[in-house]
């Protein structure tokens, strides 16, 4: 019998008099000891499933149909007391953001102790048991850890504590909602290994929610792909990945850049997944508006979830077409090498260093400085895309900010188009910078002034001083820019709040392009965006490269994205460049241990490789990470 079983589970939201189905006819059966992956983009409803299991739906949402049974008991309509009994004990959760998931004013020991006491352990024994459990997740010196506060731990350490707490009650089911998304790549791999280890040891059933299809394939036994609240494909992981039977699943694969396979053009699905307000208006297949295999029947009929192979179901009217019609896209030819005539580097960095002063008491010495960037040197040529990869704290953002002039270097030289611009206070340097280099910021939320309309944001460069242009000129230019970045002309009158994340990023790019710079610094501009939106932006950048001949310094932690986009790459570790060179060469044959560890931490395309074990085997043993 299945441990957790959903039958036609439907969750609705009452919005403005309408009842919108945010989860529609979800079916799955999870047996003891199995791992089920729920894959989808943001807004697909994956977290809603987790909340339904916990019976903690936000206000206005309710289960309007179907059933959800845990160990034979219906979770829907369960009493509060029974729910509290189950939560933490038989059903446990692992959260997405480990650093904020623990109470900042209580010690680890206090929170763990409270949890263990709730599970029925005598107070006196809680300490020892907590140490045991922390040891099981490979945390060093667990006894000290108990008296520490969450802010003293790193993200990875916090997540291990949370995993330990989740498994403390030997639960039958663990729901992990994007447990590694907020962590660095290498830490991600470690955490996944720990989770799998615990799962096997306790024979726990796991629901693993993620947006990363490849990761899910390596980790899960079965996968369910969710789109706009509807399960579109469900089946054994290797089958779903190896021979997908739904166009969306296939498109997901083709939208995600790969690290080792041939470098193919990404399919960018148009628009984006419909949001809640639009659910009600769609008849027929919810994916149809974006589907490359769309037929008139698809808009009228809602495809049922039918079995296309043993244990493998798909909600498509034409499942067999997925394999035959959606072929691999063409290979992207030749990463542009710096052509011989472009001898002069646009950006030349020599011996760049940056130290940050920690808050000092006046009796302490200067040794307390944090070294963010240490002796970094590189060049960037016209029409070149150079990537800087590293984990958080590696200094990549600092390098970006130093290049643009937002921070002042402690040592080193920055040459922009032949001119020395190291001194940020020099007016001529500043003017030269303004004309040559621009930055695209990471967070679309804070990068656009919420009080300005799009037209005024993108033409901000033409606003004041000697570059002041009349309004008519500005509106015309805004329209040109919007067309170039692929947005409709009526977007000019909107406020940032009315745009989606992907659209905001485009406006970001448009603003940077307005002053016709020669070089763009893109700081993590696609992280946090859905894969389809990400693909759109990456293709946009490639198009800009062809049409405008612009150079880009692309900062990212995502190796696959860098490989897709960049001609050369610099690998940064703790503020220093450990390896650099043409992207293909570096990624195919890494020389430095850190680069190797980074590459090993990314789930490979090849399913025959036992990735989880690979990452665990200690490729990182040589480094003090």
């Amino acid at each position: 019998m299945a441990l957790l079983e959903a039958r036609a589970l439907t969750v609705s939201l009452d919005l403005a008099g309408q009842s919108i189905q945010v989860l529609r006819k979800v079916n799955f059966a999870l047996a003891e000891g199995r791992v089920l992956g729920i894959v989808g983009e943001s807004g697909a409803g994956k977290s809603m499933i987790a909340r339904t299991i916990a019976q903690m739906l936000p206000r206005g949402f309710r289960v309007s149909g179907g059933s959800l049974d845990f160990d034979g008991e219906s979770l829907v309509g369960i009493s509060n007391a029974r729910r509290r009994d189950l939560l933490g004990a038989e059903i446990a959760f692992v959260p997405q953001e480990p650093l904020t998931a623990l109470n900042p004013v209580l010690t680890i020991g206090q929170q763990f102790g409270e949890h263990l006491a709730r599970l029925g352990l005598a107070r006196a024994l809680c300490g020892a048991r907590a140490i045991e459990l922390l040891d099981a997740v490979h945390l060093r010196s667990p006894a000290t850890l108990l008296s520490q506060y969450p802010h003293q731990l790193s993200g990875g350490m916090c997540q291990r504590v949370l995993i330990a707490m989740a498994f403390a009650g030997q639960p039958k089911l663990v729901v992990a909602d994007e447990p590694t998304t907020a962590l660095d790549v290498i830490v991600q791999a470690r955490i996944m290994r720990i989770m799998l280890e615990m799962t096997k040891r306790h024979r726990t059933a796991v629901i693993f929610i993620t947006h990363d299809l490849r990761l899910a394939t390596h980790v899960c036994d079965d996968i369910m792909v969710l789109y706009a609240g509807v399960p579109v494909e469900i089946g054994p992981a290797k089958q779903v990945f190896g021979a997908p039977r739904h166009p969306y699943t296939r498109c997901l694969q083709l939208t995600t850049p790969s690290l080792s396979a041939a470098r193919r053009e990404l399919i960018a699905l148009p628009d984006r997944m419909p949001d809640l307000a639009e659910f009600g208006r769609i008849t027929g297949c919810r994916f149809a508006p974006r589907c490359p295999l769309r037929q008139p029947r698809c808009d009228a009929e809602e495809p049922p979830l039918v079995e296309v192979a043993p244990g493998h179901r798909s909600a498509c009217l034409f499942p067999e077409r997925t394999g035959t019609f959606i072929q691999e896209p063409p290979i992207v030819t030749g990463l542009a090498a710096a052509s011989a005539s472009d001898r002069d580097a646009i950006l030349r960095i020599e011996g760049l260093s940056k130290k940050f002063r920690r808050q000092r008491r006046f009796w302490r010495r200067a040794h307390d400085d944090v070294v963010a960037v240490h002796d970094v040197s590189f060049e960037l040529y016209p029409r070149e895309f150079v990537g800087i990869v590293g984990e958080s704290g590696s200094g990549k953002t600092t390098i970006g900010r130093l290049s643009v002039g937002l921070d002042e270097p402690t040592a080193g030289r920055i040459m922009l188009a032949g001119r020395d611009v190291t001194d940020v206070h020099n007016a001529k340097s500043r003017a030269h910078r303004v004309a040559t280099i621009q930055m695209i910021f990471q967070d679309p939320q804070s990068a656009l002034n919420p009080r300005r309309r799009v037209v005024r944001i993108v033409t901000q460069a033409m606003e004041a001083g000697d570059r002041h242009a009349p309004w008519s000129e500005r509106t015309a230019r805004a329209q040109d820019l919007l067309a170039e970045i692929g947005m409709p002309s009526d977007a000019a009158e909107r406020y940032p709040a009315q745009l989606s994340g992907g659209q905001r990023q485009r406006v970001n790019i448009a603003r940077a392009l307005c002053s016709v710079p020669k070089l763009l610094v893109a700081d993590e501009i696609v992280s946090g965006l859905d894969v389809s939106v990400q693909a759109q932006l990456l293709n946009l950048l490639l198009r800009l490269k062809r049409e405008r001949q612009i150079a880009v310094l692309f900062i990212s932690h995502d190796l696959s994205v860098v490989r897709y986009l960049c001609d050369r790459v610099l690998v940064l570790y703790r503020g220093a460049v450990v390896e650099s060179g043409p992207t293909e060469a570096v990624f195919a044959q890494p020389r430095h241990d850190y680069t190797k560890a980074l590459l090993a931490a990314v789930p490979p395309d090849d399913l025959t490789q036992r990735w989880a074990a690979l990452a665990a085997s200690g490729q990182d043993a040589g480094l003090a990470l």
Partner: protein
């Protein structure tokens, strides 16, 4: 513990330059008074020579900077000079009146904290319900009347109309004041005179309540607002997912976090409260430092004004330091391990 000592030490050191500047400011500002400080304390038929002599004796004929230095030297030796009006030592006057003000202020602080914290929790408890609007309006209304008007209203209601509580002075005329520390409640207990104790308490209720009530609404609001903020945090949701009940979440997890910004506000409110004792004392004819100050200001008694102003500042700095220390104890992020 060492962190607390460190913070208090830092505050102490930082307070010195502040107090220096404060005293200089006071000195300079008070010299700007259009009234001749001597005019009120000199007999009307004094001759010019006599006036000049008195002026010289009091040191008013020297340049300001010198006067200040002299004052500073004396202050360090705890000699605050002599009151022009009373001819008594200023230090003595302060020693007589300060304990009364402190007693009143402490009582009011306790009331303000109790009302503020309880009110805040209650407001938060009412969230989403119709009662919230009423409670909210009530807190705005309380805040719209300054402390001295509350004081007057209390006198009208409880003192005059209902005649439940006394509203003049510290003690009924029938009793004689026990004098040990200056703190009436403590002195009464030392002497084991419970009748005096209760009488003193009765006299303090109205003024302390007026003070405490008027300064509690901001505390209520900030606590409610902080609780809202905390409840939106991830770790509260995670606690629920571990099966922890709502009551325990409120008490053990949420309040400890929400109290921090509330504490900062409470520190500010209490400094205001200490200043508010001035008016309350005037209204209730309470023999504290406030009355001393008002009288001194009216009579242009500079030494007293100067010294009392300084004492008020010291009190504010002290309150801030204590609040900072408590904040440090409660907020682990600030500690250095």
């Amino acid at each position: 513990m060492s962190d607390v000592v460190r913070v208090l030490g830092q505050r102490f050191i930082a307070a010195v330059p502040i107090l220096l500047v404060v005293s200089m400011l006071l000195f300079a500002v008070l010299r700007m008074i259009p009234v001749d400080p001597l005019a009120l304390s000199v007999p009307p038929n004094a001759t010019i020579e006599e006036i000049d002599k008195i002026r010289h004796d009091m040191g008013f004929d020297r340049p300001i900077a010198v006067q200040y230095v002299v004052w500073l030297q004396n202050t360090v030796h705890l000699d605050f000079g002599r009151s022009i009006q009373h001819r008594d030592s200023v230090a003595g006057l302060i020693a007589e009146t300060l304990p009364a003000t402190i007693e009143l202020a402490l009582f009011a602080i306790v009331i303000a904290s109790a009302l503020g914290l309880a009110g805040g929790l209650y407001l938060f408890h009412l969230r989403g319900r119709p009662g919230e609007v009423v409670a909210d309006l009530a807190s705005t209304a309380i805040m719209s009347l300054p402390e001295f008007l509350w004081g007057l209203l209390f006198i009208l209601l409880f003192g005059v109309a209902l005649d439940w509580l006394p509203f003049i002075g510290r003690l009924s005329p029938a009793f004689s004041r026990p004098v040990h520390s200056g703190f009436l409640l403590i002195d009464a207990l030392i002497d084991r005179r419970f009748d005096i104790f209760f009488d003193a308490l009765k006299h303090m209720i109205l003024p302390a309540f007026a003070l405490g009530l008027s300064f509690s609404p901001p505390i209520m609001r900030v606590l409610r607002s902080s609780l809202h903020d905390v409840y939106a945090e991830d770790y509260i949701q995670q606690a629920r997912l571990r099966g922890i009940g709502e009551w325990r979440i409120l008490v053990r997890h949420a309040t400890k976090n929400a109290i921090l910004p509330t504490l900062t506000l409470m520190g500010v409110q209490f400094s205001f409260l200490f200043g508010g004792t001035l008016l309350i004392e005037v209204i209730y004819s309470y023999p504290g430092m406030g009355n001393l100050m008002v009288e001194a200001v009216r009579n242009a008694d500079l030494p007293v004004t100067q010294a009392v102003g300084l004492v008020y500042c010291i009190a504010v700095l002290f309150i801030n330091a204590v609040v900072d220390a408590i904040y440090l104890v409660l907020n682990p992020k600030l500690r250095r391990r």
